[in-house]
């Protein structure tokens, strides 16, 4: 990656992140925090890339890598499931109306 492209890319991402979040009403802040947390679970991609490189005879790193993958997946699956659970509460009411 060229440094200049990368810099543009990072700056735009920051603006995009702020812009998207700033329109969320306070009532949805908790689900949003939970959802954002789940998205940060994309770190799992890094854990998988790392697993490709780890020497299969290096058991310490293999186990540590496995733990990393486990934790990353837990972050994603728990994060999205819990967010969905919270949002279901909101939806049940509007259906009832």
């Amino acid at each position: 990656m060229e440094t200049i492209n990368l810099t543009y890319f990072i700056v735009f991402s920051i603006f995009l992140g702020v812009e998207i979040i700033s329109n969320v009403p306070a009532i949805l802040h908790t689900p949003l925090m939970s959802g954002a947390n789940a998205i940060s679970g994309v770190i799992l991609v890094g854990a998988i890339f790392m697993m490709i490189q780890v020497d299969p005879t290096d058991y310490v790193n293999l186990i540590l890598g496995g733990i990393a993958v486990f934790l990353g997946t837990l972050n994603i699956s728990g994060g999205f499931f819990v967010t969905a659970k919270m949002l279901r509460m909101f939806n049940s009411k509007s259906n009832k109306k």
């Binding site: 890319f9 990072i10 991402s13 920051i14 995009l16 992140g17 702020v18 998207i20 979040i21 969320v24 306070a26 009532i27 949805l28 802040h29 908790t30 689900p31 949003l32 925090m33 939970s34 959802g35 954002a36 947390n37 789940a38 998205i39 940060s40 679970g41 994309v42 770190i43 799992l44 991609v45 890094g46 998988i48 697993m51 490709i52 780890v54 299969p56 890598g65 733990i67 993958v69 486990f70 990353g72 997946t73 837990l74 972050n75 994603i76 699956s77 728990g78 994060g79 499931f81 819990v82 967010t83 659970k85 919270m86 949002l87 279901r88 909101f90 049940s92 009411k93 009832k96 109306k97």
Partner: protein
């Protein structure tokens, strides 16, 4: 093939952005979550696909699949067991797992001894941020779960500063090539130091400020993810990380504003000190019995309910919803007025009331109704304190001065349900209690509300 994978990642990035965007409306939020989750599943599948085509050793693939399987199942199990009131600590716990994942990646990558200066920098930055996020989130989790973990913070300020300096200094030694040995041991030291720093960082902060800190730590995990993304040149990790980082910082600022505190005072664990006399003044209050309140409720035609943290502690959201339905049945207009920081996180109170099946249309935000508070016959304040203190608007000497409040004192009558005369978390007396139109009903919020409901049923229409 490679273009196809890049396209898949692009779709995922768009789905993250769209998912978050959709979360800005309660109706589309659920869809937004599904879109983001689908994007995430796509990312993971693509990445596993890449690893298989990259001839990953069989044992690595085995460990990988087992870990993903158990991670997914564990997440689902936790979700099915958790209660709504425990949401804030759960977010904190998940944040710790994400941070731990980033930390392990950093340590293992560093053990491969990368030579590039840029990679080394990203690795160190990733390890420090994720290390702080892990222990910080875990401590926040235990604080919110009510576990007492007291660390004497008077003597630790020097230690905190020393560790912070070391965290900046050690990587600098490596990056400037002054120390040219193996990276591994140094990385371990930095990792341990950042873990310790995470504890020292969160330790002095009070339980009531935890949401701010969770939000902040959330954004730190995002930044750690972005650094890991730079290590692997993965656009999806960089974008995902930065969005979460930006969102976390923004939420932190919003929460601090709602509490009228600067982020720095939150970090130092200090509470703004007001004039001394505010603490010592004895208050003359008027008590009221639950049967009298029930009578008041039956006479009122427009009622404001202001729920606070006390309602969540007493788990009284269901009985509160029951009371509201009972009053609705008597043609009384009932509104729930929610302060931006009610509960333990912004929006947490809305989730709790939603869980208790309170219809969305009855929830009002503070700004919506504050100008017309005098149209309410009765304000029922359940377990809230500082957010209704008129001193925030009238008394410039008060520590809470300037904080946005719900002007319940403008309504015809105010009933405050509270356990005792203790102060709110700002530690100041509430001028509202002394007002002529304010009455106090002491007791556990759930018990009091149950009595109210029972007595209201006896009063005929």
């Amino acid at each position: 093939m490679e273009n196809l994978i890049e396209l898949g990642y692009l779709i995922s990035i768009i789905s993250f952005l769209a998912g978050l965007k959709f979360m800005s409306s309660p109706k589309r939020a659920k869809l937004g979550n599904i879109i983001a989750a689908a994007g995430m599943v796509l990312v993971v599948c693509l990445t596993i696909g890449i690893s298989i085509s990259a001839n990953i050793p069989r044992i690595n693939l085995l460990v990988l699949s087992v870990a993903i399987f158990f991670g997914g199942v564990a997440g689902k199990r936790i979700e099915s067991k958790v209660e709504m009131t425990k949401m804030p600590q759960l977010v904190s716990l998940f944040n710790a797992t994400g941070g731990a994942c980033a930390l392990l990646i950093g340590i293992i990558e560093a053990s491969q001894n990368p030579q590039s200066l840029f990679l080394q920098f990203c690795l160190f930055a990733g390890i420090i941020t994720s290390g702080v996020a892990v222990t910080g989130s875990l401590l926040a989790y235990s604080k919110l779960s009510g576990k007492k973990l007291i660390i004497e913070n008077k003597n630790t300020t020097l230690l905190t500063k020393t560790i912070l300096l070391a965290l900046l200094f050690i990587p600098a030694l490596i990056l400037t090539n002054i120390y040219a040995g193996a990276l591994g041991p140094v990385v371990h030291i930095v990792a341990v130091l950042s873990l310790v720093y995470g504890i020292l960082f969160v330790a002095p902060i009070g339980g009531a400020d935890m949401p701010v800190i969770i939000s902040f730590l959330n954004s730190i995990t995002g930044i750690a993810t972005a650094f890991a993304g730079l290590v692997y040149s993965s656009y999806i990790m960089i974008v995902g990380g930065i969005i979460v980082g930006a969102a976390g910082i923004l939420l932190t600022v919003l929460m601090c504003k709602a509490m009228n505190r600067s982020f720095l005072t939150v970090l130092s664990g200090k509470i703004k000190k007001g004039s001394k006399k505010a603490y010592e003044k004895e208050q003359i209050i008027q008590e009221i019995s639950s049967s009298e309140v029930a009578l008041e409720l039956s006479y009122s035609s427009k009622i404001a309910i202001v729920p606070g943290y006390g309602l969540a502690v007493a788990q009284a959201q269901h009985i509160c919803s029951h009371l509201q339905k009972l009053l609705e049945g008597r043609d009384t207009e009932v509104h729930f007025i929610i302060h931006p920081v009610a509960g333990r996180m912004p929006g947490h109170m809305n989730v709790l009331l939603a869980e208790a099946n309170v219809d969305y249309s009855y929830l009002k935000e503070m700004e919506e109704v504050n100008e017309e508070m005098d149209s309410y016959d009765l304000s029922l304040i359940i377990g809230a304190n500082d957010v209704v203190n008129p001193a925030a608007e009238n008394d410039e000497e008060s520590p809470v001065y300037g904080m946005p409040i719900i002007r319940t004192h403008h309504s015809r009558k105010v009933v405050v349900m509270k356990r005792g005369m203790s102060t709110g978390y700002a530690g100041v007396q509430n001028d509202l209690f002394e007002m002529d139109n304010c009455f106090l009903l002491f007791g556990d919020a759930k018990d009091s509300l149950t009595q109210l409901v029972d007595q209201l049923k006896l009063i005929s229409k």
